[in-house]
Amino acid sequence: MRLRDLVRKEIAELAASRAFWLLLLIVGLLTGQSFITAMNAYAEASGIGGGPAALAQGLSPLDGILTPTLGAYDLAITLLLPFVVIRLIASEKSSDALKLMLQWPASIERQIAAKVIALIAAWVVSLAPFFIALAMWRSYGGHLHAPEVLNLIAGYTLRFLLTAAIAMAAASLMSGAANAAIVVLAFTIGTWALDFIATGRGGILQTLASFTPAATLRGFERGLLRVDVVLVMLILSIFGFSLAANWLHLGRTLKARIAGTAVLLILATLATMNVLMLVRTSFDVSENRRNSFSHADENTLAHITERLTITVFLASEDPRMMDFENNVLLKLRRSMPDVSVIYPLAGRSGLFENDARYGTIEYRLGTKSAMSRSTTEEIVLDSIYELAGVRAPARAASAYPGYPLAKKPNGATLVFYALWPAALGAVILSRRSRAARSAKTA
């Protein structure tokens, strides 16, 4: 049996589902709201009201427009997508269509693959409001950096795949759609909790937390493409889809299905561990190179082969910690071959820390060490160069010009709040009238 036939069937099922059309409607409205709000804020920062404009270099479409606009999809993926995916499985289970499908000359794995392809097609369709927003942004004279756009879409697509995999696995494992929805919701809340608990704690917990859907998106939103994150998300997605297929084999004994789950779990764990241990490649696709030191600094740091151990005496919610993580540690990990970071404090806010060392950061390179309170990039780099006994390279100023745009999102309200719902309504009505005409002629 051709995969194309299976995909056609799944697309027809998606198109027949109210949940999918509702998802499209809400995604359009949310995207519109996010885009209009982002445009207004960007215009204000660019000085539209006659007030002082922000420094041009600080005005990046990635932060100001792309990320907030696509952010609408995070909400849709978290709260709406699971219902669309769960329906694809749960409806076939409850109507006993699954019992027919299991007798088709196509393995259930192949049928799950068809569902995934159809879901990806649905995802591409659901991105239409985002593409409309991008087109409007360009028509206003806004700037886009293609690698940033593609990287962001890739991140959200991986997020979509992971959520779809979890929802599909839950729908296959659980007896009803409501139970599956609860499982997916519990997973989402669990990852939020992990994200919250693990921040700034270091160790395995922080490593795990860096792969939660929210954390992975943050990287893509910064214009960072981490190959390990991409691979781990793909592994977890494939694990979820495989788990779904395993539990839909009704003819297998419970023992066989549990054994299958164990095998899949072991394979996924081994693959993930391999990725975590072996893959460190990442690409800074941001136009302003916000995830990288200057080329001169990167070259110098790459030649410091000794392990750099950094002990951060800052609590996880201290704003300096956030600065240090994003502006220094992230770049150091990308630039130096061996960096180890220790987070010795257990408190979250730092308000009740009695440790006299609070606020300091210790750098140890070989037998030498240095202490500093600064979280500023240049000062940290100078401390490391001093420890390594190398001369700090000359640093050029950033060449990023910034892209201010003091324009209101004229027409966006009409497009997203009127034309988009009207277009969807027209498609639904034309489908219905076609069906009615067919029924009449019969």
């Binding site: 027949a16 076939e92 269509a97 019992k99 299991l102 088709w104 009704l250 004994t253 019969a442």
Partner: protein, 215 residues
């Protein structure tokens, strides 16, 4: 021989539903599986179709099983469903099926909008649309009125005459007696009798007497 089941045993959860069931079905015959409620007829069909784990052996040609009272893909139309079934087996929908089962007028109706009897006729059409040499139908006459029952029996008879083996689970003994060539009587998960109507009823009376005597 199209279907041979030997010493088939199966559980649902912790409950033993079938114990050592054996029977055969031959090419072109209609085998009726009869028995009281809870005898294990549906479980037997699901095991034979590979939809439930079991112990024992099942040898069969390519087969297809249609469960009782299903409404697959409820948001799609009758035609879409039947065309899908045919396409999934690499064939085209035989339009005479729609005619034979009075589905022409319903072909553009959604599955969820069908009445019980209409849905039953769709289920039978689904089974017949699958180009398989053995077809298992669970309660094919349940929900049909007398005229429709006779019509469906006629369709099934014709199909069996074309060489397909039909295994039907039937709780209405009068229907079973009218359409089946042979019978398998199940009780409490065991096969208690197998044979033609004459073989089963010799010296006892009718099929109902056999049923009451053995179950």
């Amino acid at each position: 021989m199209s279907l041979a089941v030997a010493q088939l045993s199966a559980r649902r959860g912790t409950r033993q539903v079938l114990t050592g069931v054996s029977f055969t079905a031959h090419r072109g015959e209609i085998l009726g599986v009869i028995g009281p409620n809870g005898a294990g007829k549906t479980t037997l069909f699901e095991c034979v179709a590979g939809l439930l784990p079991f112990e024992g052996t099942v040898d069969h040609d390519l087969l297809f099983y249609v469960p009782d009272a299903i409404r697959p893909w409820p948001d799609q139309t009758v035609r879409w469903t039947l065309e899908l079934m045919a396409r999934m087996f690499g064939t085209r929908l035989d339009e005479t099926l729609l005619d034979d089962l009075d589905l022409v007028a319903l072909q553009h109706a959604t599955v969820k909008s069908l009445s019980k009897g209409e849905a039953k006729r769709l289920d039978i059409a689904i089974g017949l649309a699958a180009p398989r040499t053995v077809l298992l139908l669970d309660e094919p006459f349940d929900g049909l009125d007398l005229r429709q029952t006779r019509q469906v029996m006629e369709v099934l008879r014709r199909d069996a005459a074309n060489g397909r083996t039909l295994v039907l689970s039937i709780h209405q003994l009068s229907d079973a007696a009218r359409v089946c060539d042979r019978f398998l009587l199940l009780d409490h998960g065991r096969s208690v009798a197998e044979g033609t109507l004459d073989e089963l009823t010799s010296g006892v009376g009718g099929l109902e007497e056999v049923f009451l005597a053995l179950t």
